[in-house]
Each structure stands twice: as structure tokens, then as C-alpha cells.
Symmetry: C2
Subunit: 600 residues, 2 copies
């Protein structure tokens, strides 16, 4: 335990001026009794040192209390706990509740923004929101319509608000924001509407914009230094954000930033990934389409990129690179290094040096993955760092209006937004995965602002010749690139995991079960059926010295879009409706928080 | 215990031909492991002989599983359990789910009627529905739009459907139906729209109409025999349903039948009450307005009335008489008699002989009641059976456009639809009550079919000079007319109670707590905060020999209409919005089933 705490202090404590600007948040992140930001900590480990609930007693877990959010459809993210107050958010219309934990969950305040419901059809994958964040006495809400609001944490009063995008142009939001120092990191959605992605830093004090970094475009837009910003160790050179695009296509080039953000205080870098290039029809955008599908490391103060790594050049499958970057300090090749581990939609688990961006490992974390034979790991090769594409599953090579069948994974990837957890005790990553394949037929599409810009018809189904289910919950070793154990699930595991010092891991299932697993063996120790399918992330906190586990129910997200939006045509929801049709035999729409504890 | 079972068999078993026609249902009603109709049994006792969960161990109760109905707003009624299947209904759009209890609640089928949403604004008091009923392999759903549907209990397929009323004329439904023998009893709502109430018997086999009894109108409409149908022992005489009305007002006279129905197999009588006369402005309808506000006993086969008792002649406060009639066999005045006990909206608890309709007792079950000094109990008096009205609180005497203030109870009564329970062991009634007073200002209104026909402005508030709360949960002795104990509650107890052989009583609160109480002492033994405010009724069943307690959450109904319909003007919702405004500090909209059990 000492070692873990030591590691975590290194990660969180050493640092510069903006740490001082945010001692308040840093202390709360370091305090296992609270849960102040969606990811639990800046490293995105989703690990808690609390161990009152542990492998020995988790079987006795009980529901302590519950709360209905008053909203149906997909509930992603988790509540926060700051001091004795729990902050609960909802999908559109993005209500925020402050619940008094010291007074049986009494509602201290509720904030309900007025939003134009016309934003709903512009959201690609349900009306989800991945939650609010706390810093400096404020609760930050990034609404579906891209308005960022800072609420007074005590009263719910609006302190400032700023508009980050334009829903009429297809720009929407589902992501949480990440407060760091005196700034808050804010992303954008809309890759299916030709939105050019960007990450923006706003001032925590007053909401003024500090910097914005686009995912593609001129160097001044993407905030690179052609000489010092690197890709796999080499300078990116001039115009790297336009010279792998034909004409002006980069202007509607996608690469949105709707995933999770990590931060390393020592390096003063924020890490995140960019989404798919637009359209989904690869024939319409020849070239590598940089910097879509890219892991980015940027200086927090200036936004300048230190390094990039493009995982899937010229995407042909919608394998958005936005999944979380998990920061760990581990020994690899006999050396203690600062690592970044990332489970990409494309089915590869990557381990990189997060200081330099050096690629250390890239291995399939689902054996079903078939579109690539793997990544060229030879630094001397001209294909260094590129995945080798299997012709049969190349929608580019098969061409427009041809249905490429049997591609694994499906567009929603071997993992989508559902975040993994890491335990420094086991040094394993606990990864909620999809085990789904697809047929993909690209077609020509023309761009109209605010209209879908997809250009592909999809069908999805469970990975063939496997256990028949659509998901697995796995334990992954990021040093060896091996799956330590794997729990088959009937549906994709669309919920974020939590690992704790109690030697257990939690996750939720699309049918609605909260499950507790032995972190070492993968043995199931507890399960409970919550009101609705789970796509939220498990979190933990204490109240009066007692440990609680909390999870939002409410089926939806891309996997649950059929139920959430009431769709029945199998090809609707970009193919997810047919794939997950059986879900309606297990659950119904919901929106509830369930809080667990051990009996007194 | 023997004695209780003996009593219940007497009540349920002795009988005629239609019992044979419905052995299936009778056996299930007699089987404490199932819950086949909303009221638990025909006597409306809401008493279960199950005692695995009891006063000694109920403190250990745990949530066993949960289910989101996928619908928000007020959830009244309860699930049914028939064999290993649980049937769960929702408010509008009135979805029905069949859940396989033997397979972790898997959804066997779901039925969602297509209903015109224009019915919603014609529903006076939220989009509630008090649940489905089982008989002869069918699940009966009475939709908001008054369509009665018989679903195949195994497949959910529609076997027949029949239309009971016309929403365009203000006719809607919220009530459950009561299957008896080869018929199903069906009521109607719309007293706030000038609907003339009726009870209708349809054939269980094919939905054909067998008889219909109106609450007012010519003798042939109201199904009376002027000679043999009695009121307080006297024949009602000719034209009793028109001769206390001026002109044709009876045609839009109200007296709707949206409450609960009871049945005595030995007497072959169905018991129910009729609602308020229309309009709420008493000056517009001089006379006693018979047979609004009346307890009715009718022959099941013919619909012919055996006896009536009008509790509130010429209503001036909207004290609908629809609350449930609880049938018991008890000793009173040294004699074993067949009793009917009824807690009326008007604040009086009535005990009658259910064979003859003789009035045995009428006492206030909330000391706050002030509109009457009591009922004239002298059979020789010409006011026999009439409540004595206190002039100060008479909205008739104060006149149109005058605000009568401080009337107790408020229009929603000392008790509304929320049903009480009776334990044959304690011989006490456990009554969820309102402790609310009002200001009431009647005004002239004209009738337009399908438009509100109310004619009064109301304000509601907690009973003054009391404990400050808006409700009590009480134990009532129907022989002595005394309150044995009373638990103060911050809000009205709008949930139906359950009494069990475990010496405990359950009820839910508007904040969302399920509570278990010692049936003898009134001591609170357990409470749990469910996702949303409770207006449903507690039920119990067993699965594989284990006892479960189930309750629907989902705030709404008249008390919760502010939250349910998003209203904020205090006078909206006929005055309930202001009265219950503080509820939004405790709960939010929901729609969830929570099922409890003891730990294994
Ligand atoms: O390209 C985009 O801008 C964008 C946005 C989102 C989103 O904001 O939820 C998703 C996706 N793409 C996407 O590709 C995807 O698989 C996805 C899943 C989900 C979800 O919440 O379940 N959102 C999104
Ligand atoms: O006169 C009617 O037809 C009628 C109907 C209903 C109903 O159907 O719910 C209610 C009432 N009246 C009513 O007076 C009343 O207090 C009431 C409460 C509720 C409820 O479900 O909370 N319904 C009704």
C-alpha cells in the first residue's frame, strides 16, 4: 500500500505554479473519501485506496439508498462527492442535483439549463453526458448544446457560462471537462457531422478562452511547432495538419475530442485522443488524415503539442481514437518509466512512454480483432507504428458501395468510451470491452452543415465462433501485452470500471447488473440488478467513515440507442439497433443512482 | 392464525356459480405466495398471511432487485405476481411488462398500447394508473383512454378489447378493474369534466357488456328497484337519481367511479363509492345530488343496487366518496357482523353492516377535520346519517366568489385513493392519511364537453396548529372509532399500506421511503429511500419459498402533480402545487420497482 501511495503522490504532487492555483482540487483528488472529477484522478486510473469493502466481504454488499434523476435515456459518467455533497448529472436536458449526504440525500439545489431540444437529433450516439467536474468551489457542466457553465458548488448559481460550439453546425457535447490549475479543458463532438475537432482551455476564474487546439488544419490552428512537436520521435514538420488531406477536406475533417482527458502535473501535459476523420467513406478523403485518430500530448499552459501518435492513419472503420489515456509509473524492459496505456477502438492496446511519445507495445486486447495483423514495431521501417491492414477487411480497398463483411471489431470498437481501471497493486488494467463485428458499406455523401455526414451502412453482430456474447471484461497486462483473464458477457460492457485497494474491481452490464470481481482471479464475488442497463462508471466515496459504491443506471449510449431512442430498424443507430436488439428482453429505459454499502 | 384463515375462507369460499367460473382466480387470491389482483383479495384487506419477514427481522430487510419501468410520472398501484411471473404496469402510456421471476426478472413480453396523447390533459390528477388484474389466464389493462384490453397472460397477445368511454367528452381512466366470476368490473374517471359516472360489467370471455349502472339518472340507468333498493334502511323510491337535481344537471353530474371495488362472494355483492357531483361550485347544483358521494352495494350478476349510503349530500368541498370499502367479519355490539369500513375523503371513518347498509359508526379519523361536527346517528331523526355542516366552512353558505378559508380537510381529503390495510390479528386498520387544509373559492362555470368543469380556486397547506406536516399514518379501531396510534409525516402518505402476519405494516412516503412499522405499537422498524416518491401500494409474494416485498416508486398523483407535470403556480393542480411545493427538495420524477427480501 505504501508503494502505491508513494507512486500516486509522485504523480500528483511534484509540480509548477498551477498546482498552487488548484490546491483545493488536488487535495480532494488525493483524498479517497471524495470523488471530485469524473476520472477519480488525473491519471485516469479509476483506482481507490479505500478497502473497507474488499474481496472478503463484498459478497455482503447491500443497497444503501437510491435516487431517481427524473430523466430517462443513457446515463454515462458518475456522481461526484465533494465534502458531504453529492453532485448528480443527467443526460439531456443536463440537470445537475446537489444532494446533502449528511441529510439523507436531501436536494440542496437543482440546476436545469434551458436548451433547445433541436440539439437532440444532432447528437450521434444518444443524449448522454459524461458528467460534471469540481474545482475551486465551482461545478462545471458542459451541456449538450456546448454551453459550458460554472455553477457555485454551494448554491447552484451560475458564475459564468461560455459557448464552445454551434449545434446548427453539428457541434454538440457529451464529454466531461477536466479542470487543471487555473484552466478547464473542454472538448467537442460531431465527427458524424463533419465537425473539425478541437480542445479548448478556458479560464476557471471567468470562462475566458486561453487557447484552442484543432485536430487538423494549419500549424497555427493545431498548435504545433514543426521542429519540436514529434510523431514517433520525428518532428512533424510543416503543415502536418493539412498535407495528408486532399484540398479543403480537413475543414470538415472530424477528429473530435469527446473522450476523456488525463494530466501529468510533473510534465504539465494533458493527454487525449482525437476521433474519426469525416466522412466514414474513406474514398472521399485520400491520405492519412492527420491528426485524426491520434494520441496528443499538449502543454497545459499554451496548448502547444509535445508529441502525437496517430494509431489508425486513414481510418476505414470509424475507430475513433478518443478512449482514455491511463497514466502509470511502471517498470518495463528493466526500467522504471512514465507510461501511457490506451485501449483503442481499433482493438489494439498501446503502451507508450508518455514523456516522449515512444511506442513501446501494441497488441490486440481481443483475439477477435481481424482488420490488422498488428503494428509495425521496427523503428527503422518506413511503416513504423502503422497497423498492417488485412485487405479483405479494408473498406477502402473493397471500395465504395461494396459491403465488407465480417470486420472485427465493429465501428464501436473493441472498447468505446467506457473507461478501464488500473490497480497499482496487481499492475493490471481492468477493461470493459466489446466483442462485436460488422459489415460496412461505404457510399458517397455530400456535406451540408448540421446534417449527418456519415456515408456508410453498417450491421453489427456478436463476434462469430466465440462465446456468443457481445462483450468481455478483461484483465490486461500492459507490459507483456497479454490478457490475464477474461469474463464473457452477453452484451458489451459499456460501463466504466473501478479498482480498489480491497482487491476488487467493479463494473456494470447493459442488462443492469453491478458486478464485483476478484482483482487477482477474475472470480465474480457479487452482483445486483439495478433498475436499468448500466453505461455509467462505478465510483466510491466515504460518508461518516463508511465506504460507499455508487453507479448510475439508465440504458443508452451507442450500444443502447435502439432502446433509448425507440428505434427498431436494424441498420438504424449506425447498425447498433440490430446488434443490440436482444437488450430489450432484459431492461428498459431508466435514470437512477444506486448506492451500495456493507451492512452496519 | 387459524381463526384468521377460517374467516378468510368464509369470505372467499361459500358461494354460487360464478365462483366455479373463476376457481383459478379464487385459488390464487387464497394463495399468499401470489398477488393476483391489485387489492390482494376481494375484501380489500391488503393483508398477507406470510410471516417470514416479521417484526423481529424486518430491520434486516435488503433490496433484492430493481426494475425501471421506462416511464416517469406518478406510479400508483402495484405489480401482480401470478405463478412465477410478475406483471408491472406504468402510468400513461400504460406499458405492461411480464417479468420472469424464475429467470432474474427477464422480460417475457411487453405490451405498449398506442394511445392518443391528447388524453393526458383530460386526466385531472396526473397520468396515473392503478394497475392490471389477472383472471382466467388473462391480464386486464384499463388504459387512460378507457380502452379495456384483455392480454394473454403468457404471451401478451390481445385477446379482446373494448372501449368504455370517450376522452373527447372528458372520460378517462386511472382505476384498476375487478374480475369477479365471469365478469370484470370497470369504472370511469372525469368528475372534473362533468362526466356522469358508471360502473360497467364486461364478460371476461369476450369483452361484451353485461350491465352498466350509472351513478345518477333515471331508475333504469342507475339500476335500482325503487321498492327494494334501500338508503339507510328505507326504499329509495322512484326517480331517486334525478329528483335531487335541478333540471338536466344530473346528465353532467359527476359521481365517477375511479376508486377501488370490493366483493363479497357470499352476498354476491360488489361494493364501491361514487365521486363528487359536478361542478365544484355547489351553487350551480342545488339539492342532495344523489347518488354522488355514495357507497353502493350491487348484485354482481345484474348490477341491481341492494343498498346505497350517501355520505356527503350536496358536496361543497370535492370529497369524492370513491375510497376503498374494506370488508371484515368482526364482533360489534356483542354481535359477529359482516362489516364494511370506509375512510372517506370527508374525514369520517364509517363502519356499516355490509349486508343491510346499516350505518353503525361515523367518526373523524383525523382530529383536524372541522367542516362537520359529526353525523346524526339517530335513526329517528330526519337528518339521520347526514353530517352536520359547520357554517363557517360551508362554501355553499358562504356563496360564490367568496373564499372560504381554513377548511379541513382539503379537497384531497383526510385520505384519497391511497388504500388502507386491515390486520385480522390486531383488528386494526392501518390508514395512510392527509393532514391538509384549504381555502376554497367557488365560481360560476359553464359546461363544454371535454373541457374542465371545476368552478373553484383552491389553496392547500398543512393542518394548522398541528405537527407541521401534511400527513399521518394511523392505526384505526373501526369498532370504537378511535385512533390507536398516529405517526406524523412531513407529507401526505399517498401510498397504499400492507399488513402481514409478521406483525408489521408497510407504507411508502412521498419523499420515497418505504417504511415498516410494528403493527401493535406503531414503532418504526425499518426505512429505505427508494429512487422516487412513493404513491404505489406495497405488496408481497414468495419466490422459491422466500418472501419478497415490492413497491413502485414514481412521484405524482394529485399530491405530486407539481413535480409530475412541471407546474409551479401554487394554485395550479387545483391547489396542490403550492401545498406540496417542498416535495421537490426531497425527490424527483421516477418510475422504478424496488423488491426487498431478508438476506439469505
Ligand atoms: O465523432 C464524434 O464526435 C462522436 C461523438 C460521440 C459522442 O459525443 O457521444 C460518440 C462517437 N463519436 C462515437 O464514435 C461513438 O462510438 C460513441 C459512443 C458514444 C456513447 O456515448 O455511447 N458516444 C460516441
Ligand atoms: O372525479 C374524478 O373523476 C376523479 C378522478 C381521479 C382519477 O381518476 O385519478 C381523481 C379524482 N377525481 C380526485 O378527486 C382525486 O382526488 C384524485 C387523486 C388522484 C390520484 O391518483 O392521486 N386521482 C384523483
Amino acid at each position: 500500500m505504501k508503494r502505491i501511495l508513494a507512486l500516486s503522490s509522485v504523480l500528483l504532487a511534484g509540480s509548477t505554479s498551477m498546482v498552487l492555483a488548484n490546491d483545493d482540487l488536488m487535495e480532494r483528488i488525493d483524498d479517497p473519501n471524495q470523488w471530485a472529477i469524473q476520472t477519480g484522478d488525473y491519471a485516469n486510473q479509476r483506482y481507490s485506496t479505500l478497502d473497507e469493502i474488499n474481496a472478503d466481504n463484498v459478497g455482503d454488499l447491500q443497497v444503501a439508498w437510491t435516487f431517481s434523476t427524473g430523466v430517462l435515456r443513457g446515463h454515462e459518467g458518475s456522481p461526484l462527492v465533494v465534502d458531504n455533497v453529492m453532485y448528480v448529472h443527467t443526460p439531456f436536458p443536463n440537470i445537475v442535483y446537489a444532494l446533502d449526504l449528511a441529510d439523507e440525500g436531501k436536494i440542496l439545489w437543482r440546476y436545469e439549463p434551458k436548451q433547445d431540444p433541436n440539439v437532440i437529433p444532432v447528437m450521434c450516439c444518444d443524449t448522454v453526458n459524461r458528467g460534471v467536474a469540481y474545482a475551486d468551489g465551482k461545478i462545471f457542466l458542459h451541456q449538450a448544446d456546448t454551453t459550458v457553465v460554472a455553477l457555485n458548488a454551494e448554491t447552484g448559481a451560475v458564475e459564468w457560462s461560455v459557448v464552445n460550439g454551434d449545434p446548427a453546425a453539428g457541434e454538440t457535447n457529451t464529454a466531461t471537462v477536466l479542470p487543471v490549475g487555473d484552466k478547464v479543458m473542454v472538448g467537442i463532438s460531431g465527427g458524424e457531422f463533419g465537425v473539425r475537432g478541437h480542445l479548448t482551455a478556458y479560464s476557471i476564474a471567468d470562462g475566458s478562452q486561453v487557447w484552442r487546439a484543432y485536430s487538423m488544419g494549419p500549424d497555427s490552428d493545431i498548435l504545433v511547432d514543426p521542429e519540436t512537436t514529434t510523431h514517433l520521435g520525428e518532428p512533424v514538420g510543416e503543415n502536418s495538419g493539412t498535407n495528408t488531406w486532399e484540398g479543403d477536406q480537413w475543414k470538415i475533417g472530424g477528429g473530435t475530442t469527446w473522450g476523456w482527458y488525463s494530466y501529468d502535473p510533473e510534465e504539465n501535459l494533458v493527454y487525449y485522443g482525437t476521433g474519426n476523420p469525416s466522412t466514414w467513406n474513406p474514398a472521399q478523403r485520400p491520405g492519412d488524415n492527420r491528426w485524426s485518430m491520434t494520441i496528443m500530448a499538449r502543454d497545459i499552459d499554451t496548448g502547444m503539442a509535445k508529441w502525437f501518435y496517430q494509431m489508425t492513419p486513414h481510418d476505414e472503420w470509424d475507430f475513433d481514437g478518443v478512449n482514455e489515456m491511463i497514466l502509470t509509473d511502471q517498470e518495463i524492459g528493466g526500467q522504471e518509466r512514465k507510461l501511457l496505456t490506451h485501449f483503442d477502438r481499433n482493438g489494439l492496446g498501446y503502451t507508450l512512454d508518455r514523456v516522449t511519445g515512444e511506442l513501446l507495445l501494441a497488441e490486440k486486447y481481443d483475439p477477435a480483432v481481424n482488420w490488422t495483423t498488428g503494428v509495425d514495431m521496427d523503428p527503422a521501417s518506413e511503416d513504423y507504428g502503422r497497423p498492417t491492414v488485412v485487405a479483405e477487411y479494408s473498406t477502402e480497398q473493397n471500395g465504395e458501395d461494396v459491403n465488407s463483411t465480417g470486420i472485427c471489431p465493429a465501428a464501436l470498437g473493441s472498447k468505446d468510451q467506457q473507461p478501464a481501471a488500473y490497480s497499482p497493486e496487481t499492475e493490471l488494467f481492468y477493461v470493459p470491452t466489446n466483442h462485436v463485428c460488422m459489415d460496412y458499406e461505404p457510399f458517397r455523401v455530400s456535406y451540408t452543415a448540421g446534417q449527418p455526414y456519415v456515408g456508410a451502412t453498417l450491421a453489427m453482430y456478436p463476434a462469430p465462433e466465440s462465446h456468443g456474447g457481445m462483450g468481455n471484461f478483461i484483465a490486461w497486462n500492459n507490459i507483456t501485452g497479454e490478457i490475464e483473464w477474461s469474463i464473457p458477457e452477453q452484451f458489451s460492457v459499456w460501463s466504466g470500471a473501478l479498482a480498489t485497494a480491497g482487491d476488487i474491481v467493479f463494473y456494470g452490464t447493459l442488462e443492469g447488473y453491478l458486478k464485483a470481481i476478484d482483482a487477482q482471479t477474475g472470480e465474480e464475488l457479487y452482483k445486483f440488478k439495478t433498475p436499468s442497463g448500466i453505461i455509467g462508471n462505478v465510483m466510491t466515496y466515504t460518508q461518516e467513515g463508511k465506504q460507499y459504491i455508487a453507479i448510475l443506471s439508465g440504458v443508452g449510449g451507442w450500444a443502447g440507442i435502439g432502446l433509448a431512442a425507440g428505434l427498431t430498424n436494424p441498420n438504424d443507430g449506425l447498425g447498433a439497433v440490430g446488434g443490440y436488439a436482444a437488450l430489450s428482453d432484459y431492461t428498459s429505459l431508466g435514470g437512477q443512482l444506486t448506492v451500495f454499502a456493507l451492512p452496519d
